[in-house]
């Protein structure tokens, strides 16, 4: 696998990191108007992620995982507190400013893949490279599709790819821009067990090889266990889980699936 990485990649223009913490949330909160007044989704979230570090965020449905991911990725803005990216204010930028910063440093993998249906696999991977103004988007995209094992599917449109293949294209699209930070929202949530396992494997391999920091939102405790840190969201608050509690959770999950 490492052999592929020996190809000299064209630069995608990713800036070098300047701060010690790559992503930082300071007392972040989010409320939305509800039928009985303000509804608090997230409260007092403090969180720091170093370059290259991986963190899993788990929690029951409705605990606010996707909301937190949206805030951290600058897709939404907090109602209190602040998010910093590479030591610089991120959540306080306007939408365009956040989009540009995101394009420079981040990439995404979604549960439902979100490939552009009318672009083929190669063009889907090229898209963020073209947005960044990368030098040889076609060459880079081909390389990454080869890296995820889809070199024979370059001209295929999403509708003709299986779920697992679509998520591979999404992974290639994410890593092609050589991001400093990858946000993954339930990346195996739409796949069967075997495919999910393979995609998880590929995700962590690519992550390790690229030295990318990872924020992974998942229900999959096995996947969460592979991250360096594990945060648990409960009723809008974030708790750091210790190694032992993760193990016991993983065991419980394994037992329940065995039954």
């Amino acid at each position: 696998m490492n052999k592929n990485l020996e190809i000299e990649l064209p630069s995608t223009g990713a800036p070098l990191l300047q701060a010690e913490s790559l992503l930082q949330a300071e007392s972040v909160g989010k409320t939305v108007p509800g039928p009985d007044g303000e509804l608090t989704l997230l409260e007092d979230i403090d969180f720091t992620l170093s370059p290259g570090q991986s963190v899993a965020i788990t929690g029951p449905s409705g605990s606010g995982k996707s909301t937190l991911l949206g805030l951290l990725a600058g897709l939404d803005t907090p109602t209190s507190g602040e998010v910093l990216l590479d030591g610089k204010p991120f959540s306080k930028l306007d939408e365009d400013g956040r989009a540009v910063r995101r394009g420079e440093l981040c990439a995404f993998v979604f549960q439902h893949f979100h490939l552009v249906n009318d672009l083929n696999a190669l063009e889907n991977v090229m898209l963020p490279l073209e947005l960044k103004g990368a030098a040889s988007p076609r060459k880079t995209a081909s390389h990454w599709l080869q890296r995820v094992g889809l070199e024979h599917r370059l001209k295929h449109f999403p509708a003709t790819l299986s779920g697992g293949e679509q998520q591979r294209v999404a992974l290639a699209r994410a890593f092609a821009v050589q991001p400093q930070l990858l946000f993954a929202d339930e990346p195996t949530g739409s796949l069967d067990h075997a495919n999910g396992g393979r995609i998880g494997e590929l995700l962590f391999d690519l992550n390790r090889e690229s030295g990318t920091a990872l924020v992974l939102v998942t229900h999959d405790q096995q996947l969460a266990k592979r991250c360096q840190r594990h945060l648990q969201l409960e009723e809008g608050r974030l708790f750091e889980r210790s190694e032992s509690s993760i193990e016991s959770l993983a065991e419980a999950a394994t037992e329940s699936s065995a039954q």
């Binding site: 991911l69 949206g70 939408e95 394009g103 995404f108 009318d118 947005l131 929202d185």
Partner: protein, 814 residues
């Protein structure tokens, strides 16, 4: 469940669909009603010209058995013949008409109490002992109301001056002036001897059913000299504006149906995309097809009903207001079938355009829920296309029952409307292939368009049709108005002078200058009778039946010569005066007499005869207020004949003394006042113009609606695309550029196709509507402007999609 019919209204796609149905209801109801009003006016006008809905004409009185058949209907009888009035050594050939007390069945007679008095309308003819005469009789015989005139052996009192009879044919001057008296006096005149050429005309009124039954019963009883004419086959010349407007309204029905259909199709596509998940869920819960139909389609149908009803009601209200403002009397003209059509037409459109798409919901497989797929497979494209193209055609045919009139245009629109987007498709694909070197925004826009045929092609077709219709409606509507205006310019001649001699010119011109009248060219007139065609006497050359129909053979004709053709005339065959001694003949008369190019004609005149050869056949517009002639000779063709002159002039309104002064100076001339005819024509044109403007506005409204639907149609997909671009780091400027490029390309292609349609459709359209060749005008470039405008509005309308939060992808709202 109580508010299940309200639920669909929460969906924007449904709101648009409902709006389209409302506009369809509004446009169709107003056009159907307007069409019915116009048809009725057209029919009344034709009936006025014919004297009734049915006319039985013969050289003898109808048989008792025929009278028996007719007696249940309202009838009026006139007896027409030519006779000579003699007074103080003056002889005057007149067209006499003896009328019964029922005459006229339709319309009114316009009469005046003296030569230069104002005109007023009356409903019944002269009483026994009275005679009414045309102005010329007063001038030629120097008589005035109150005097007595001898018609044959009967002395009648001259009691009024005739200005217009309702069934007066379009030629407003005649060599033989008209007189009218009561049938009660007919026998006493003793003029009906064996040699007199008489026409008995029995005019009958009744509804369509009665007339058709009567016609069927009368046909077998007709004598060889008798013929039946109904409104359909009446040899009435084109009714000008009314006829054109009726055609234009037919076209409008068709186009509005197509445009509203296109909107319904686009809005339904969006609606189906929104509802397919529910359909899949119902399927996965085990709902049978029947249940899905009743739950999804049933509620859709019920929810659409109020939209349809509101639209129709607004249309009905609009026409009521229009009727009031145009002072159209009586109850609405629409028949019960037309009212039913108003009620159901929008639903027919919905069934044709929406149902094939909606039925896709029934076929959504449960697995699509698991696959998160939200685009159900459509029914066969062919079925959809056939339904979508066939529905408005059938509907329009049903509504207007005059597809024959518009057949070629219709075929053209359907072929081009459906075919052009398909032809443009390779162009879009080609652009995509060579887009590698284009900027990113253009590339993305091209890919969005060229790789979503199911979204782009209907959009392209709808935009193309809407643009073509807007431009065609604008151009033909404008041309119609121009055409009408040019027929009746503000200072159209309102008086005509006949029997002018060359020695009168100085006196006449001095008088004209004094009155600040606006003059027209002078035409030399020679009275002549056509006697031989290619050396064969007319009586043998033309069959008896044809001869009966041709007044031209039974009377003196006004022959003229002219170097230039009249502007409103058009050569259909041959050339305008290629040699001396040639003549140009009016087309309809030539057809009736069986005349062809090269035929040799002999006319007998007071000075001998004229031999001539037909060099051209000419189409004449009888509705213009300028002199028209059946026979126009090449210059010199009337040399050495007794020539008098004819001209027209416009006289500003003022008192009748001015004309009396002219008559005093030139007592031998014949002066015709056509102000009454002119006012009537002006009134018709005014109403037709208002109706045209209304129809054009309706067409434009429908076209705008299609454009709106087209713009809103792809918004959901555009929103998803933009959210993803934003997530991947695309800034707002890029999203705007992509959206602009997408709309400019789409609208550019549509404008191109629309311009092709306009150029192709303009020829049959102008030939049909205006009887003219198309002219180049700025209207043909309108699609480009519309395209630019639509692109701008499209980008503005896409602001919502541009602002679609990237977060929606995480929440799977897309």
């Amino acid at each position: 469940m109580t508010n299940s019919w309200l639920r669909p209204w929460r969906d924007r796609a449904f709101q648009l669909l409902a709006l389209a149905i409302s506009i369809a209801g509004f446009a169709l109801s107003s056009i159907i009603l307007l069409h019915a009003e116009l048809e009725q006016r057209f029919a009344v006008r034709t009936a006025e010209m014919l004297g009734g809905e049915l006319a039985l004409t013969g050289t003898r009185a109808p048989e008792p058995a025929q009278i028996e058949l007719i007696k249940t209907n309202a009838t009026a009888t006139v007896v027409d013949f030519s006779t000579v009035l003699v007074l103080n050594d003056e002889l005057l050939l007149v067209s006499a008409r003896a009328v019964d007390n029922k005459y006229p069945l339709y319309g009114q007679m316009q009469i005046a109490s003296g030569r230069f008095e104002g005109t007023h309308a009356v409903q019944a003819g002269p009483t026994p002992g009275e005679v009414w005469v045309a102005d010329q009789v007063l001038d030629r015989l120097h008589v005035q109301p109150g005097d007595e005139l001898n018609i044959g052996q009967k002395k009648l009192k001259l009691s009024a001056v005739i200005r217009q009879l309702p069934d007066q044919s379009a030629g407003f001057y005649s060599m033989s002036p008209r007189i009218v008296f009561n049938q009660h006096d007919l026998e006493a005149t003793g003029v009906l001897g064996p040699g007199t050429r008489i026409t008995y005309r029995q005019m009958i009124s009744g509804d369509a059913g009665q007339i058709s039954r009567l016609q069927k019963n009368l046909e077998p009883t007709l004598r060889p000299d008798q013929r039946l004419e109904d409104i359909e086959n009446a040899a009435v010349r084109s009714m000008g504006p009314l006829k054109q407007l009726t055609l234009w309204a037919n076209l409008a029905v068709l186009l509005v149906s197509m445009l509203c259909g296109a909107t319904i199709y686009l809005a339904t596509s969006e609606r189906v995309a929104h509802r397919s998940r529910l359909a899949g869920l119902l399927r996965s819960f085990g709902a049978p097809r029947r249940q899905i139909i009743s739950r999804l389609l049933g509620s859709e149908f019920i929810a659409i009903l109020p939209a349809s009803a509101i639209g129709s009601l607004v249309g009905i209200a609009l026409i009521s207001i229009l009727r009031q403002s145009l002072d159209w009397q009586g109850s609405m003209a629409a028949t019960s079938v037309q009212w039913l059509t108003i009620l159901f037409a929008p639903m027919v459109l919905w069934l044709a355009f929406a149902l094939p798409r909606l039925t896709a919901l029934v076929r959504v497989p449960a697995i699509d829920v698991l696959n998160q797929r939200n685009k159900p497979k459509p029914l066969s494209t062919n079925i959809e296309l056939t339904a979508a193209l066939g529905a408005p055609v059938l509907l329009a045919g049903f509504l207007t029952s005059s597809l024959a009139d518009l057949g070629n245009l219709l075929a053209l629109l359907v072929i081009l409307g459906a075919g052009l987007p398909a032809l443009l498709w390779p162009l879009l694909k080609g652009l995509d292939l060579v887009s590698g070197k284009l900027p990113l925004a253009s590339r993305l826009a091209l890919r969005r368009l060229s790789r979503r045929p199911s979204l782009t092609l209907p959009l392209l077709a709808a935009l193309t049709m809407a643009m073509a219709v807007l431009a065609l409606a604008g151009q033909t509507g404008n041309q119609l108005l121009d055409d009408w205006r040019s027929r009746l310019p503000e200072q159209a001649p309102n008086h005509f002078v006949l029997n002018l001699f060359e020695k009168d010119f100085d006196t006449f011109n001095t008088w004209l200058e004094k009155q600040e009248a606006i003059t027209q060219p002078l035409y030399p007139i020679v009275r002549g009778r056509l006697t031989e065609i290619n050396g064969v006497p007319v009586s043998q050359a033309v069959t008896k039946e044809k001869e009966n129909r041709n007044e031209a053979l039974n009377r003196d004709l006004a022959l003229t010569e002219a170097a230039d053709m009249l502007p409103s005339n058009k050569i259909n065959e041959g050339a305008w005066h290629p040699a001396k001694n040639t003549v140009s003949v009016e087309q309809e008369l030539a057809d009736r007499l069986g005349l062809r190019l090269g035929d040799k004609l002999l006319f007998i005149t007071s000075q001998g005869s004229i031999n001539t050869e037909i060099a051209s056949l000419r189409e004449v517009d009888w509705d213009t207020f300028e002199p028209n002639f059946y026979f126009m000779f090449a210059p010199g063709g009337l040399a050495e004949q007794d020539v008098t002159w004819l001209t027209g002039f416009w006289l500003p309104t003022g008192d009748g003394k001015r004309l009396a002064e002219l008559m005093l100076q030139l007592p031998h001339i014949t002066l015709l006042d056509v102000n009454t005819l002119l006012n009537k024509a002006n009134e018709i044109i005014g109403q037709a113009s208002a109706a045209t403007a209304l129809l054009a506005a309706l067409l434009m409204l429908a076209a705008t609606l299609v454009l709106t639907a087209a713009l809103l149609g792809g918004q959901a997909q555009r929103g998803r695309d933009n959210a993803l671009l934003r997530t991947l780091g695309g800034n707002r400027a890029l999203l705007y550029r992509v959206t602009w490029a997408e709309f400019i390309t789409l609208c550019g292609c549509a404008a191109l196709a629309a311009m092709i349609i306009i150029f192709a459709a303009l020829y049959p359209l102008t030939a049909q509507l205006l009887n003219d060749n198309p002219t180049l005008s700025y209207w043909q470039l309108i699609p480009l402007l519309i395209g630019l405008g639509v692109a701008g509005v499209g980008v503005l309308a896409s602001r919502g999609a541009l602002r679609k939060p990237a977060l929606s992808l995480l929440r799977d709202e897309a």
